[in-house]
Symmetry: C2
């Protein structure tokens, strides 16, 4: 394992143990079993380590999306997969908690834009496939993907908007209807966003 | 004028002069013509002053929205007004520049959620009026308003996403089509988002 990876793994361990905030550069070096001086060869500060950890976390989903894109599924099946992967891979509760501290706002903000930019491309590809299959209609699928994602990424971020559970459900229902109507998709195409039974039914064969 | 207002005005002046970042608490007090000790009675830190300044800026639009709501205009006319007020009042380039510095990310983030929450209510009222007038269709108008606004507030924030001008235009066109289709509104209802001629035509009588 290269030293850069060791440092990022150490930072991830510290965040998982709830020590992300209090850990010093020395603590990170110690956890990574490397000399503190060696750390500065890779990162100039603790912020840079956190920044790189966040980027690694989000970049790790890109190969999964590429794999997904090559499967012989239809657009709606792929969309379910995309959302499943997003929930499993992106939503790391430990890292999330740490990013929501005010002092990490700059990195948090960067992580939200990073994730939107990363997922917009595969989502646009799925929308274009849906257009070919005749289930979706969109002219500028990339812009449409970015707009839908801005609701997912920002409005649904628990650190930005503290919503009671029924508000979250209502917003998901509204978003599924906005997507259905604006993509002129078959009725209830996006019901799985909020209806657990519908989600299980659709993903049971995955 | 009360001292709190004097402090906020001083902070606004410093931001306008490009000194927001370097100004100390003493500089703020000096500009406000009050004793430094007196400042701490109102604010514990410079961050608190900035925070209050941002809140004041955004809260100043609420009375304008209330006035607007009472006029005898139809929903589409009110929507134009709302967007006009938003652009004139919210988009303060000096404050904006300052908020986009990494060290102000926490306040910037708070300001974005603040603005979304403030505008969602009047926008939802306009949508409901449109439903009554038979031009819009939405079941849960508040959620719909929040979702549309998350694109406006986050995706269109120049500090979060650095977009070339043609991308900005494409996204505005896509958003106007998403809103039109999902609200089942008459064709080109939201064309004024991106078509300047359409904007001037519709607002010439305002």
């Amino acid at each position: 394992m290269d030293k850069r990876t060791m440092i990022l793994d150490a930072m991830a361990t510290l965040v998982r143990e709830g020590k992300g905030n209090t850990a010093s550069v020395s603590d990170i070096a110690k956890t990574a079993c490397i000399a503190k001086g060696g750390m500065y060869y890779y990162f100039r500060s603790k912020e840079e380590v956190l920044d790189a950890l966040v980027a690694r976390q989000y970049d790790s989903i890109l190969p999964l999306f590429r794999q997904m894109a090559q499967r012989g599924e239809n657009a709606l099946q792929k969309l379910r997969h995309l959302i499943g992967v997003y929930h499993q891979q992106v939503a790391d509760p430990d890292l999330d908690h740490y990013l929501h501290l005010p002092q990490n706002a700059a990195i948090h903000q960067k992580s939200l834009t990073h994730i939107l930019n990363s997922i917009a491309l595969p989502l646009a590809d799925i929308l274009r496939q849906g257009v070919e299959e005749g289930v979706f209609h969109c002219e500028d699928c990339l812009s449409v993907a970015q707009i839908f994602l801005s609701a997912f990424v920002f409005l649904f971020d628990p650190g930005l908007f503290d919503r009671p559970e029924d508000t979250a459900l209502q917003q998901l229902q509204a978003l599924s209807l906005i997507m259905e109507r604006s993509l002129m998709a078959p009725p209830d195409s996006f019901r799985f966003f909020w209806d657990e039974k519908e989600w299980e039914r659709g993903t049971s064969g995955l």
